[in-house]
């Protein structure tokens, strides 16, 4: 099945104001740079973004924040972003903070067709407020619901025309989970290989979850914390 489209602009053409979008990545690692740039260019507004982080001031989701396109962020950690902080304190931006494992598992549940999960994360904290708690084998768990998102935008290392995806190293992170969870899933890849070019045993995301795929370009792959050791 050929799911290949030309570019990011075509990939996001159906995303309009007020959309709920999952965006893969951890920090700036494995983020869909091309689609974020296209969303910034398209200036769609009032977006709800489900993403582990909110980028930095001048890259990633930070670019959409600068453009005032985001109404609400659903994330586990949102540091390293001054514009984010300004919009949050001024009330322009709504933020829902979720434990990272809960965020991941709520994506997983959506992709596995399960309406909800139970997790111990947040029991006894303000995260538990208003949530159903249930005791299993002497331990308390919170009921957390599967996400519902109109679109998921992910970045993979390699992909084929059928939408099968393979991720690279820790750039995998939330990408395969969000790929499974979107009603419409868009994948941008560093290398679009010919049909049959991927080993079926090595696929991380089977193409059934992916609706549109395109060859990305000009990846910056910025490093947030460059840490090195000296050769002795």
């Amino acid at each position: 099945m050929n799911k290949v489209i030309a570019n990011a602009e075509e990939a996001i053409k159906d995303i309009s104001d007020g959309a709920v979008i999952m965006i893969g990545g951890f920090g700036l690692c494995g983020i869909p740079e091309n689609c974020i740039a296209a969303l910034v260019k398209k200036k769609v507004k009032g977006l709800t973004c489900i993403s582990n982080n909110a980028g930095v001031d001048d890259f990633g989701i930070g670019l959409m924040l600068q453009n005032k396109q985001v109404k609400k962020m659903i994330s586990s950690y949102v540091g390293e972003n001054a514009e984010f902080e300004r919009q949050l304190l001024s009330g322009e931006l709504e933020v829902e903070l979720i434990p990272q494992g809960t965020l991941a598992t709520r994506c997983l549940a959506a992709g596995y067709g399960m309406p909800a999960i139970y997790t111990p994360a947040g029991v006894g904290t303000e995260v538990a407020q208003g949530k159903e708690t249930r005791n299993f084998n002497g331990k308390d768990y919170l009921l957390e619901f599967a996400f519902e998102a109109g679109f998921a935008i992910v970045k993979a290392w390699k992909g084929d025309r059928d939408g099968n995806l393979i991720y690279h190293e820790t750039a995998r992170n939330f990408n395969p989970l969000m790929a499974m969870a979107g009603r419409i899933t868009i994948a941008e890849v560093e290398e679009l290989v010919p049909a049959g070019g991927l080993n079926p045993d090595s696929i991380h995301t089977p193409g059934i979850y992916v609706h549109h795929i395109f060859q990305g370009k000009g990846y910056q792959k910025r490093i947030e914390q460059r840490t090195v050791r000296k050769k002795v």
Binding site: F26, G27, L28, C29, G30, N52, S75, S76, Y77, V78, G79, E85, L88, L89, L97, P99, Q100, G101, T102, L103, A104, T105, C107, L108, T119, P120, A121, G122, V123, G124, T125, E126, V127, W157, Y167, H168, E169, T170, A171, R172, N173, F174, N175, P176, L177, H204, K221, R222, I223, E224, Q225, R226, T227, V228, R229, K230, K231
Partner: protein, 218 residues
Amino acid sequence: MPLTKEQIAQRIARELKDGYYVNLGIGIPTLVANYIPAGINVVLQSENGLLGMGPFPYEGEEDPDLINAGKQTITTVPGSAFFDSAMSFGMIRAGKVDLTVLGAMEVSEKGDIANWKIPGKMVKGMGGAMDLVASAKNIIVAMMHTNPKGESKLLPECLLPLTGVGCVKKIVSDLAVLDVTPGGFKLLERAPGVSTEEIRSKTAGKLVIEGDIPEMQF
């Protein structure tokens, strides 16, 4: 003398056992990796999706696709494995990770921990801390015994919003090693030259002292 951050990490490293899978938090816990005792095989888990975290890369060999949960560039080791974030927290939730080391703003005598939010200040989020503390089999907290104002961070009850309840097992502070027991903070070791009286005066929560308390050796 109170312990330096490096000495806190060094002392925590002595708790590592051969074959342990360990998750190290950001800050002092990260330093623990520098003091893994010789002859002990430990696998470091990074919750963004890696088992077998190696040291920082050599200059010029940084790989933007290979980072730890603190977003620092890292390397793999022979035997490393990558996975997605759901599996990462799955293995944490299922109790496969033997030890979690993390920092704290406050710990209560019941083992409650607060380390993610200060009311009135910009809240950056809990990241994976709530998942880790809710599920880890064994949690060691690396922390300063008092805040910059000299007030105890080992309290009868946490004053800050909680990260987790009744989960901390052991604390290594700049002044002492303590276990969290049903009776309160049980003093096990003192920092070199730090008296039992000083520890008592800087511990607001219930402190249990039985017999002579040895000094840590470095």
